[in-house]
Amino acid sequence: MNSRKQISPLRCIVGAVALGVVSQWAQAADTIKVGILHSLSGTMAISETTLKDTMLMLIDEQNKKGGLLGKKLEAVVVDPASNWPLFAEKTRELISKDKVAAIFGCWTSVSRKSVLPVVEELNGLLFYPVQYEGEESSKNVFYTGAAPNQQAIPAVDYLMKDVGAKRWVLAGTDYVYPRTTNKILEAYLKAKGVKNEDIMINYTPFGHSDWQSIVSDIKKFGSQGKKTAVVSTINGDANVPFYKELANQGISAADIPVVAFSVGEEELSGIDTKPLVGHLGAWNYFMSVDAKENDAFIKKWHGFIKDKKRVTNDPMEAHYIGFNMWVKAVEKAKSTDTNKVVDAIVGVTVPNLTGGTAEMLPNHHITKPVLIGEIQDDGQFEVVWETAKLVPGDAWSDFLPGSKDIEADWVKLKCGNYNTKTKKCSGQNF
């Protein structure tokens, strides 16, 4: 009797622990896992941590609505630490070990290129939310950011037609995105009749801070009597000293406007924006856009992050669209199986935050409006121009000799780089 009495509480504990484990198991089986692959430390943390929070907010909200296919969503957050090879390792871990249904992540093109072979090998899903250089289409990747024809080309059109720019400075940081974008832009400008001597191309290292000579060169280049514009693919950080130097050397946006493809609200929130007023940004979303969806999104974001000063930006919208598309596709396919989702998602439409709708195209890019905004002194953009219609994303640029014959279509052709001349699909292209 005595000994039994002693054992019974112990049994209870064992039983409780076992029950707990089982219930946890049951719970684990009942959730759909979503991988979040954004750097939370290192150089890219500045941009990517916000996207992690956005995803957590979207998942949280979906769970409040009752989850997906009757199951709760569970976020699996990993930190690839701005280290490109680590992106690939973490992707492998997410797909093989955590069995996530989809991954939302990456920022730089280098990180996407490092993840690409892994998602293709393990047949995972990646939603990539940042504007990029194009020249890629994978069965397993959905590009919810802008392709060059949804950002760079319309921006140049605006400068050419509305601002009347005749001379062009293409300034960029020395890596794959600016180099490819500038190659496309150079070919485009030449096709429009701009002469070689009216284009100046300049590359600088990451985090460049001594802009004196370059700005002075731009000033000289721009004082030849023809209206000059700068198309900047300068990456994040280096922009601040660049704009400061422009202001210090007395170049205002009215003299030589700079249109930037990598400067958004988040980047502007860390700097003194007075010298930047009037310079331009080209994106598919601005926080200042007056739309019901946008107001609701900003309100939710401020509620989630508990800070009314935090801004929203274009890649956040891309995640919002990508996540909602994935949810719709999963509901349509009634499964999270990669192949079923890939088939279901093409043609899915969801509202974007600027009052329109976004559609997933057969080339795994989406339709977007293109907005040109002028930077204001409160760090926001004021829209000065926008495309009349939604622009469908083009994976392969029509202005590069090698890529204009290539087409991506995952519905009819089942191919990401089909050559329309040789009628051949040359397989995946990294």
Partner: protein
Amino acid sequence: MRRDFILSLWRGRLRVFALAALSALLGWSSAWAEQSTAIDLAAELQQFKDGSFDDKARIVASLESSGDERAIAILKSLLAGVLYYRKHDERVVIVKETDDGYQLSDVLNGESLGDVERRDVKKIPINNALRGQLRGALARLSLSHKNPAVRLAAVKEIIKDIDAETVPLLRQALTKEADDKVLEALRTGVAMMDVGSDDKAVRLAAIKNLGETLLPEARQHLQALVEPDGEADAAIRLAATQALAQIESRRQVYGFLETVFFGLSLGSVLLLAAIGLAITFGVMGVINMAHGELMMLGAYTTYVVQLLMPGHIEYSLLVAVPAAFLVAGLVGIAIERGVIRFLYGRPLETLLATFGISLLLQQAVRSVFSPLNRSVETPAWMSGSLEINSALALTYNRLYIILFSLLVFAALLLILKKTSLGLQVRAVAQNRDMAKAMGIRTQWVDALTFGLGSGIAGVAGVALSQLTNVGPNLGQAYIIDSFMVVVFGGVGNLWGTLVGALSLGVVNKFLEPWSGAVLAKILVLIFIILFIQKRPRGLFPQKGRAAEG
């Protein structure tokens, strides 16, 4: 032509404006009749709010020609970007930023309309074209301003797009002007129109005039004359070609001076970054990989100082310099006492330990201040540039940093040569055992020396906060450069650091236009590698017995 047309088009409205402004001055309720016209002005503003950018351009032109004080005030607030409208009743207001929203006031009579949230009001958008027009309009209105700098800016703005309508304004100003620089600009403006005159003598005189100025607009006008399809008259062509050559040779001289200035300023940044290291690495022989992070701490100190004294940004840097010296110096002493003193004579371990400390400090800053860059404001006295002439302008921030770096250098030299601490530091560096035997507390001297070097790194951080981003990675960008300078200049020699930093800066800037920024940096590195092969002890090696220790 343009102005006449607009004038005739808007004459009717002008009267309304004048009346409206008057009624606004007298107060809305003073008379019923005026009130009806004031509503017209309100309607005008309403039209401005909703109109396309073309409509806005027309309204701005009419406001300018009204010559009314209040219209000018509206133009100014439009250019400053403080003209908003309330979303719920669409009333046009002027806003003033407060901590968590905007304070509104009426456009016409300045009456306060209370505080609102940011998203309750919407800015009346203007674009660059309109901004240019506004600047032109305000320039034409400020040609008779009493400050010559304002007049000069106005004239320069006007000659950017000069036409037959604005030249009389310039001719009129020419008769009253006394300031040399403004006179030059005015003459250029007038000459730019005279080049197209019918009288050949006037044209030749104008070309001569244009050849003597460095304003880019003058060169453009001359360029147009010498283009293959530009000018038929051979004499005019010849004169224009000569004038252009004259401009070009002067520009080359100034271009050279400009590059030298750029080089010196890059060199002064290198000097600031390296001079602290010249103490810790050069004098003490400690390879401190966390040196960059000490600069970062200095930059963050500037940020905190600005947060603490929000109303006095102008003086914040003066407070930040000693504060950063203390913060970085104390952290430096803590590093020395806590880690480095156990590792003297073991360079590899010191290198690894301090590298670890640098990562630790970076992550600490990320946790405390967030990984986002912090915005450090530039005081007004450090923005803009000192304009020597149209071809050469020295930016103030660079100018002050050159002076500042020389000051820091001089102060450090004084400390090392003239104070007892300096004497002890040198004694310990030369022969530790002997110094100990003489009764010097070498451990205490070590800590203070390292603190001094670290403190100077902090001071360098204050300067860097004005040039680059204040973020956790700030230090990494400069650590390689600082080691490069110290090794190049000669370890343990302050003068070597000075000469090394400035010459590397100048060489880099002369290479840059020719090779591009990326290649210039690589070339400088290759040069240093080759140089160190030939002279392993740098530019100014230490001589005598000290060199052996």
